[in-house]
Symmetry: C2
Subunit: 559 residues, 2 copies
């Protein structure tokens, strides 16, 4: 053998080895693996660097644009990942990371995920998933029953019927919402007479055939941005995602909804779907689903409920009633990687009527053939991993009771936090919690008094200044790395709908304690009152407040 | 404390435990975990039952429709999964599972996946992904360079520029194709004059404004079904996914493509996109991308290449040229869970022009704000897991050389298998391999001779009979569990385009040997010649063949 041939042979053998020889138990990667199994919290604590490195710094470690020619050792890559990637990750499982909807995972999810990945099933068809297909159908059935509470006969009839699907599993809430609205759109313009249906002929001919000028989806101003994206993808156009005003509690105004429907009807715009929200992303409020269902029926619209966040509230006997009316929805979105505590990457939509999914049914010759049990015939995605195994395990191991505890403690904790904020003179609760989400901001007592008296222009100026402070505090707290709250922009009615930047808090991690919440407030206060970068703003704020208060003093008013 | 309170307290504590106490090392789940780390092949071999259980039997284990009220022990669920789910899974990593595009995984993918899941990052925004965002941008850059081969200055300029994205990561090829066509659609009908763009106003007004009667996507008849699905989702309608005839090698006929474009143009249908295929799903052929790029340019259409399967052929110095012209594509789909050997659930699309993705850009108040680095502003999905870490590791650990070996051995093996089939008198190669996919069927020698002479009606009858046999053999082989090939339906020109059911083989598993391929043929022959359920068909087949041959014998012809 020549030298060149020998080296080629060696490369081929190295290649076979990665497919046949497991990592040695003492290798870097195996040690990490064992370390995570034995002590996940310790691993994350030890390896994630708390203090934020600037992203443009981090980018330098990921600046090679050429795929390396020669293999690097597994151990080398493992060490690189530890030092450069893991170290600069976000500690989403931390009990003081309460800014987004990603929380800690139950320990058992890790080894279960390994089984799932080791099996590498593909749920698009039974030929690559076998038992995973009935298991996924069962999971869809269980969530369907959680929402719709049909009787045993219903599930015995439909759950495993290959011609139907009680829902569709997907990568997350966005695809779930898109799938639901795709179904809604296709059902709104079915085949009739010479028209072969919108799925065949498209939106242009559908509107022309049915005599409409457009097709709209209505949702409150607090609707998730994925709905606007869906309106774009589905060809309706983002302007046909019609935002409806909310009341002071961020719930849709049903009168305004009905008026908007009447107005659209007059404009010959088809009311394609009405979306209720069960847990708004920013404030955690639940729309009056019952009343919305009535309006949807009145206008012959598909009624979809986006319960990506709040769906699991149905597990709680105490709070289930907050979602009253959800059982009237034609479709409901759930995110499993949110309050089902499953790792990132899985959501689902369930359909009240098992025949609904047929509106988006498709087939191919080599898979998802007609009559097959293949789940891929009614999903937006094709190849999909067996994530439903993790939902299945969560539903069995935590059970209704376990999820109820998680939900109840989250909502109760949000109430505790709201109470805590309310007793601080220098913090202002912006939206009080209905589920486990609330918003607030740092706002000194004199500024709060001034805001109560201020006219529209003064309110704007005070809030503009508060906005800069809130933004600064949120960013600086994140960079310090001890705690994380997110921020968003709301338009409170009491401030003439001026856009206010607020801290947003999501309380889903069962390990978040009252003490942690107190510490978060203390750090925010400290940042606002001592950090140099914001003291000019703080001074201006107090001056403005003082001016407003002076103007409204009894003698000032008499003048 | 009352008994009820005590039990409630115990439940709460149990709930905290699953978030804080790792599985004990001797628990069922830990043992499985270690077992998989030490010996994945053995675990799969031992736990997956080879012989197929009927799915309606399996369904009985997944027939509960009620979410259990009380938690079950983790060990109990682990045992249930082993016995009922794992046992009845598909051994996709088996070297004799050559029917679909899911193959074995390199060992290092398993512990790496565990790190990914333990970190539970969310790539929609940097606030929940930090270093994962630059890492994903790097992966997109590397794949972009593999396809487009731009120079260093290009990647230094664009790869980490927060205002642009060289591509979009997603859950798989279907969403990648959909994303590319969404971009194509929005670019075809941009804002102009009084029109605010299709993303805002929708397809109906877009066509009306630009004076079209429809918008079409053109692709060969061998195009993946996800493209038809995309035409539906995007509101074009499935009929506007225009299939173009292929030549005898399953490649698009460019003359037919051009004619179709002219015809559509006359009908005032906008040529929105032309899709080339780099590795057809059923036969592994590559369209003449160069010529297609010219036609796309001629008609001002977006040129998309679906390289979900064949993209990694670019790693091979020997076979890279098969994809000549791909660098002219506006967008290219790659599936990472196919020939990048990453676990199920990740694909991506790259865009030649970094500004393309802006056609689908969207923002929200609490994340993906304007100016942020958040990758979520140009992806179809919202929350997404850190799967790009696994692609990153594959590209580093296997490197170009490693992937080249995998690609080369697959293509070479397909040629070997084709040769093997060609020397069997009773097997017929239907499509010869270009990449690592081929199709064939069991077809006795006399039947092959008869088919060579048969007229159209006789051909139909012979093929109809062969179809039943192929279907039977494929199903029975799968049920026996020693090996798996898939089946599909093709319309070979030599058989008057009569739909023929064929075995379909995908040779991506590096552990598949020539011996395994020989065994697969031997088992198929055995099934066809001895299995009782098909002998009537076999007899009929031989009689039909004999009749055809007799008719064409010299004396018969003279008669």
């Amino acid at each position: 053998m020549t030298g060149k041939k020998k080296s080629a042979q060696a490369s081929v053998e190295a290649m076979y080895r990665v497919f046949t020889v497991p990592e040695a138990p003492e290798s870097t990667l195996s040690r990490i693996d064992q370390n995570i199994s034995r002590n996940l919290a310790g691993f994350l604590q030890e390896h994630i660097v708390a203090v934020e490195r600037d992203l443009s710094e981090v980018e330098k470690d990921f600046s090679d644009y050429a795929i390396p020619e020669k293999p690097v050792f597994v151990s080398e890559q493992a060490q690189f990942l530890l030092d450069k990637l893991v170290a600069n990750s976000v500690h989403t499982a931390s009990p003081s990371f309460i800014g987004h909807m990603t929380s800690a995972l139950p320990y058992f999810m890790l080894p279960l995920s390994k089984i799932m990945i080791a099996l590498n099933q593909n749920l698009v068809k039974t030929e690559t998933s076998k038992a995973f297909t009935p298991m996924e159908r069962q999971v869809l059935g269980m969530i369907h029953r959680l929402v719709y509470e049909q009787d045993g006969a219903f599930y015995r009839k439909w759950m495993h019927d290959p011609r139907f699907a009680l829902g569709a599993m997907c990568s997350g809430g966005t695809v779930a919402n898109l799938t639901a609205l795709w179904v809604a759109r296709n059902r709104a313009f079915p085949a009739e007479g010479s028209f072969r249906g919108i799925h065949q002929e498209g939106l242009f001919r559908a509107l022309r055939y049915y005599g409409y000028e457009g097709a709209a989806i209505l949702v409150s101003r607090r609707g998730h941005y994925s709905l606007r994206k869906a309106a774009d993808v589905l060809g309706l156009g983002r302007e046909f995602l019609i935002p409806v005003d909310t009341d002071d509690d961020n719930r849709i105004q049903t009168d305004a909804l009905r008026d908007k429907c009447l107005e659209l009807q007059k404009q010959k715009i088809k009311i394609m779907a009405i979306c209720g929200i069960a847990g708004t992303t920013e404030t955690g409020n639940v729309d009056p689903l019952d009343a919305m269902a009535d309006i949807a029926r009145e206008f012959g619209a598909h009624f979809h409920v986006d319960a990506a966040w709040g769906g699991p509230t149905l597990f709680s006997r105490t709070y289930r009633s907050l979602l009253r009316g959800i059982e009237q929805a034609d479709s409901v979105t759930f995110d499993a990687h949110k309050q089902l505590y499953v790792p990132m990457g899985v959501g689902l939509v369930v359909f009240r009527d098992p025949s609904l999914a047929s509106a988006v049914e498709h087939h191919a010759q080599y898979i998802i053939r007609k009559g097959s049990r293949d789940l891929g015939s009614t999903t937006l995605e094709g190849s999909r991993p067996g994530m439903s195994m993790l939902i299945h395990s969560g539903l069995k191991i935590l059970a209704r009771e376990g999820y109820e505890i998680l939900i109840d403690q989250g909502i109760d904790k949000a109430q505790t936090f709201a109470d805590l904020i309310n007793v601080q003179p220098d913090f202002e609760l912006i939206t009080k919690p209905e589920l486990n989400i609330l918003t607030y901001r740092y706002c000194p007592e004199d500024v709060q008094q001034a805001l109560a008296l201020a006219d529209e222009l003064q309110t704007e100026k005070l809030n503009a200044c508060l906005n800069r402070i809130t933004k600064f505090v949120q960013k600086t707290q994140r960079e310090r790395g001890k705690a994380f709250v997110s921020r968003t922009r709301l338009e409170p009615a009491r401030y003439f709908h001026y856009p206010c930047i607020v801290f947003r808090v999501v309380l889903a991690n069962p390990l978040t304690t009252r003490e942690i919440l107190e510490d978060i407030l203390a750090e925010q206060r400290e940042l606002a009152t001592t950090e140099e970068g914001v003291q000019d703003e703080i001074n201006i704020l107090h001056q403005m407040a003082s001016a407003v208060l002076k103007q409204h003093q009894p003698d000032a008013r008499q003048a």
